[in-house]
Symmetry: C2
Subunit: 357 residues, 2 copies
């Protein structure tokens, strides 16, 4: 069983946060710009492109609470944690936050079960009109179709294979318990690396002092006015530049991996609950139902529905994890490739400059 | 004034040292193989190619003493220092020693004034016959044409410009005093780097732990059997391999620079004596001669000869330094270029492997 894709779903880009304030400047906050488009809207030529909307972190948290309430068995990823007040407006924190919120929103808008729901639509499209926002907010909070009534709306087109269901639950348990431990480690390593790279390249790494020494050796060596002196200085500068570029790349290239790890952590923390529902809430009841049916007694399809939803959601979580990591890895490799290509070009130029006679 | 090139000079390659022993194994030593060829011999088609000869460090030192004795005002570079007995046969010490002796012999055989002399010819061509070696040795040691008689054999074709001579001595003093300080520093930095690179890449550098983490994350994450898992493992391995390659390259690529620094130190340590001869022995006497000549008194060309020799030798030292550093720098850049090209290729393959759908 798997979710069917919603052809009308949105895609949404998070960008350009800006600092805003209310109560005459007493409280300030960041608002993120969301630019939403939907395949359906794009296909209909006469519909205007939706205009961007501004949302703040608090509103993301509100949306998440609504989705969690309305969709049991669907894993709504955790949002990135709140930042300490001092770091909230630091450019690198803001940039990272934008990346993390993008991944979160990408998952939510890309999830077939969540994609079409009213509260998400409201969040993505409601403009600056305060009344309109409050109206949608009230509507969503008064919604009676929350929790178990979700299952009533699911159109289950197959019966779950109980053996397959059991195996899937087991493999999910193994597959996603370990990475949570592992990726926690990876996370701290990446963090350490990106801060350490700078120090390491400045202090004791290859490129730094060798670049410095050749540069100074060339300049002070009195060889400076000769072609060799020039070549030495040039090589020194190139090597030093490569060191600095490596530092910048190490930090920039690990950023997507970093964000993927954070997102993955936020995604898989919802798994234990899902697996519990799968095992005790659905699988055991489905077995029960099977027995009742074998004994010729009346059954309803409820257990099958819940089981199918669980299995579809587990597949979705696995796929999302794969997709996110695949992209982060490709970005990381592309960044490193660009760096090494750049160094190759610099070294080629340097060698050419040295090949005077 | 500059030395005229000797068209009959030798070129000589040092290679393949082997451990030998004498007195029935009580004393052991390294013998280096010297393969000599001369442009003149190569041009005469009927002369056989000279066969390689074996020389030990002690014989290099003996040659150096003879050359120094015979050629005043010529800077005979210092030989690399003797090694502690424990390290003498370590492969990396031997490899480095071969490189240093090569540079030394290249300078001596390439020096127009030294190139044709009998003692060098004997050193380069005398075969395994002990009597023959001893005969040449005795001849060289009994040679009466040593020291100042060297000037008698020099054919000076111009009169030195006294102002130019003064300027040259000054600029040599400045140019080569500083690099001796600077390169001493560079030397220790290079040494530190080549030993530290290994530790740094293993412990706290970018490639190491990130490669490890992605590899393990991929393997234990349960993502292993999926294409993404495979890609993660592959990327991890590639990054780790790049880290190891960087270490090896850092060490291998700095080797020529290292040898150049050592050689340059050994070359320039003879400069102060040369400059002293230039300034007090020749320049002041040449000025004196000028005055005597202006007063109509008798003069000989001796001061001019010494001055011209000094100037030619100073030019030779500058050129040798440039040539050596130029080549070492090119080797260093080529090594680094090869490394980065290799990494580019690996990353491209990795990216291709990740681009499954």
């Amino acid at each position: 069983p798997e979710w069917l894709d919603d052809p009308a779903r949105f895609t949404c880009a998070v960008s350009a946060p800006s600092k805003r304030s209310k109560f005459g400047g007493i409280k300030s906050y960041l608002a993120y710009e969301l630019t939403t488009s939907s395949a359906a809207a794009a296909a209909a030529a006469d519909s205007p492109a939706p205009s961007p909307v501004w949302r703040r972190y608090k509103q993301f948290a509100w949306l998440r609470a609504r989705l969690e309430e309305k969709f049991p068995a669907v894993v709504v990823p955790r949002l990135p944690g709140t930042l300490p007040a001092a770091a909230r407006y630091a450019p690198e924190c803001v940039r990272r936050r934008v990346g993390e919120l993008s991944l979160w929103l990408e998952h939510v808008t890309g999830h077939p079960a969540l994609a079409g729901c009213d509260v998400l639509r409201h969040f993505l499209t409601c403009g600056d009109n305060v009344e309109e926002w409050k109206g949608g907010k009230r509507r969503a909070e008064r919604d009676r179709d929350v929790g178990h009534s979700f299952y009533l709306g699911v159109d289950v087109r197959c019966a779950a294979d109980l053996q397959h269901a059991e195996e899937l639950a087991k493999s999910m348990k193994v597959a996603h318990r370990k990475p949570r431990e592992r990726f926690g480690e990876l996370e701290s390593i990446i963090d350490e690396l990106s801060t350490r790279a700078i120090v390491s390249f400045k202090k004791n790494d290859f490129a730094g002092p060798c670049g410095k020494a050749t540069t100074e050796g060339g300049r002070e060596g009195g060889l400076h006015p000769t072609p060799l002196g020039t070549a030495l200085v040039q090589a020194g500068n190139a090597i030093r530049a490569a060191g600095l570029a490596a530092t910048a790349h190490a930090r920039a290239d690990t950023e997507p991996l970093n964000e993927a790890v954070t997102f993955y952590g936020g995604l898989t923390c919802g798994l234990p609950e899902l697996l519990k529902l799968h095992n005790t809430g659905a699988l055991s009841r489905a077995k029960d139902t099977q027995k009742r049916r074998a004994a010729g007694r009346a059954t309803n399809g409820r257990a099958n529905t819940v089981l199918c939803v669980c299995m579809a959601e587990e597949l979705e979580v696995s796929r999302a994890g794969e997709r996110i990591f695949k992209r982060a890895l490709a970005l990381f490799l592309e960044g490193q490739l660009a760096f090494h290509r750049h160094v190759v070009k610099e070294l080629e130029e340097c060698l050419q400059a040295c090949a005077y006679e």
